[in-house]
Symmetry: C2
Subunit: 90 residues, 2 copies
């Protein structure tokens, strides 16, 4: 599930629909910090990222913070179980 600027969206189809509906075509991510920790006996991982977003044609970058909770799949990969995104307004 995704919480995007406070909006709660559940299910991969709904999340893809939200992300593809955002009103820009290009966005460059500049990552400033990445922190991660194991999240418990199930083999998950929490990841915390902060940085800047530069939209095409916009002069100023937007600061953001985002956390992911990754859980293991039986195939030895991970899926995004939780995703929370926030812009950091000055």
């Amino acid at each position: 599930m995704l919480t995007f600027e406070g909006q709660k969206i559940q299910g991969s189809q709904n999340i893809v629909a939200k992300l593809t509906s955002l009103p820009f075509q290009q966005c460059k991510h500049n990552i400033t910090t990445v922190d991660c920790q194991p999240s418990g006996p199930a083999g998950g991982m929490v990841v915390f990222v902060s940085g800047n977003l530069q939209l095409a044609g916009e002069e100023h970058a937007l600061k953001f913070s985002q956390m992911f909770h990754l859980m293991p799949t039986p195939q030895g990969s991970f899926y995004v179980s939780n995703d929370i995104f926030r812009l950091n307004y000055a």
Copy 2:
């Protein structure tokens, strides 16, 4: 476990020692956003907080983001399994 501005600290005693060693006596938290999601079948919860910190005697507030991963206890309460803290520099 706690990741504080990139520093990794494990165990409740070490975390308390770190937090009590911070070089100020008073810090006022002004919370701007709180987002939370259930974190999986074990009954945990991820919480994402952003806001401002106002230290006693300092003119300017510091912006921060922090995430917690709370896990249930057998007593029906929660404990902080993961805690990641970052200041958001302008």
